[in-house]
């Protein structure tokens, strides 16, 4: 397994995540897709750490921070999705468009 393989995996995962964000209508699914993007970054970081500078654990520490912060982000995100459901009776992102133009 070369570094390239990991990076390719991460890139594919990132693109799948971005694709999901753009195509999903369900707000929760969008959040899940965002998680995919974050995880792609984590793979990148850990792989880089392993292959370029294995002694210092900077990349791994970075990925732990990313995981923590992403958790916080998703927590807030889900709370907002719940609010959306209360107000709109739906979590379909396409229906939430009061604000426009």
């Amino acid at each position: 397994m070369l570094l390239m393989h990991y990076l390719t995996l991460a890139a594919i995962l990132f693109c799948i995540g971005f694709f999901g964000v753009v195509t999903r209508r369900n707000a929760v699914a969008i959040l899940m897709s965002v998680e995919l993007m974050f995880n792609a970054v984590n793979i990148n970081l850990v792989a880089f750490n392993r292959f370029t500078a294995p002694d210092a654990l900077v990349g791994q520490v970075f990925s732990i921070f990313v995981i923590v912060v992403a958790a916080a982000e998703v927590t807030v995100g889900l709370a907002i999705v719940i609010l959306i459901y209360r107000n709109w009776r739906s979590i379909d992102a396409d229906r939430v468009n009061l604000l426009k133009w």
Partner: protein, 484 residues
Amino acid sequence: MVNLTPLLPELFLFCWALVVLASDLFSKRRSASLPGYLSLAGLVITGFLLIPAHDAYLWGGMFVSDPFAVFFKIIFLGAAFMAIGSSFGLAGRMTHHRGEYFTLILFSTVGMMFLASAKELITLYVGLELTTIPLYVLAAYTKSSRASTEAGLKYMIIGAVSSAVLLYGLSIIYGLTGTTFLQQITINLSIYWLSYGELGPAFSIALMAILAGLAFKLALVPFHMWAPDVYEGSPTPVTAFLSVGSKAAGLAAIVRIFVGAFIAFATPVMAPRDWGSTLAVLAAITMIVGNIVAIRQTNIKRMLAYSSIAQAGYIMVGVVAASNLGVSAISFYVFSYMFANMGAFAIVAIIAERTGSEQIADLAGFSKSSPVLAGLMAIFILSLAGIPPLAGFLAKYYVFAAAVQAGYTWLVVLALLTSVIAYYYYANVIRMMYLSADPNPHHIVPSFPAGLVLALAGIGVILFGLMPEPILKLAIAAASSFVF
């Protein structure tokens, strides 16, 4: 034991935010006064704690307290002060979670302060998220309002995506250089470049991913789509804070990374892949789109949203210059922009509080019914438009001068032309207030904290237009934090 003195302002403000949170538990009265005034006091004290700051760093340079950081921290504190000052009316009507509202603004401010001081990617990222996550909550703070929750959703999802894109870029930079310290990154990149003669497409991808991620915070076109909706839907003081504090934070990050670490790649000298011209194109599109779309807006918050998109474009003109003059110019720009924009939003908040309307057309006859407020609004708008001798004019002048000096004359010509378009919608507000026959039924007297905010903003806009010397000195000192 590490000496934490450079971190003192942030630590203090963080603890103070917890105090504010607790204070709401003990304040029985159904008013926002106690936590509100406590927050204001905390911000002032933090400001005083900043004064003795001198060049200092922590943890091997992860966290620095240089003049640039201090300058931007002043801006964040000022923006937070004015946002909280104009929130009393809003908070007064809240039945729940009043303390949390102020606490969240303070938390976000702490995040911004961290961000401005970060010279290391992890710190920078955590600072950025600490800035943004409370803002997601604040945008959706009016829980029962469809508009507010929608604003929260849009802001949160696009924000999360942008931070993922940013992180992807950061991870590649880490992979290329094996370090997360900005200084070391510059050195390693130079070595890399000297050994191989170029940096390859991976570097370009990283550079632009970072740019895209941060462009979201500044609402540069085409990463701006969230801004008008979120600005319109959020509670007005939050909008004000978003448009100034959050924008300044994004700018601080961009300057730290691009001017601080990647300065060598600003021009095509070292590599054909320079970020300068890309950013110049973004700035150009941002100015054009922001100004043109603003013309047909009827909601004043939306109009100001597009105006602040355009303002970000002007700021980028200074970043593109990537010079000593450029950085001091944008520092001064953001400083003056803070007063004008916070002031304008504060007035919008006061009016909306009283009349329930955010339409530009409902400003008709405002100069008759509330002459002082109308006069202040006119001053803020004129400063945003860049009319001398107000601070906004000087700021624009500096930024454009920096860009001309850096050889971006075409960008300055474009900036000046688009600012002609901007006069169109700015003049429209003044026309509504001063040159409209309809009588306005509301005589509006702002509450004490709101009046304080307005006085502060008004004095700032006029005083720093006439006597910018002290601030310019600080701004120049801020620019000295970078090596050009």
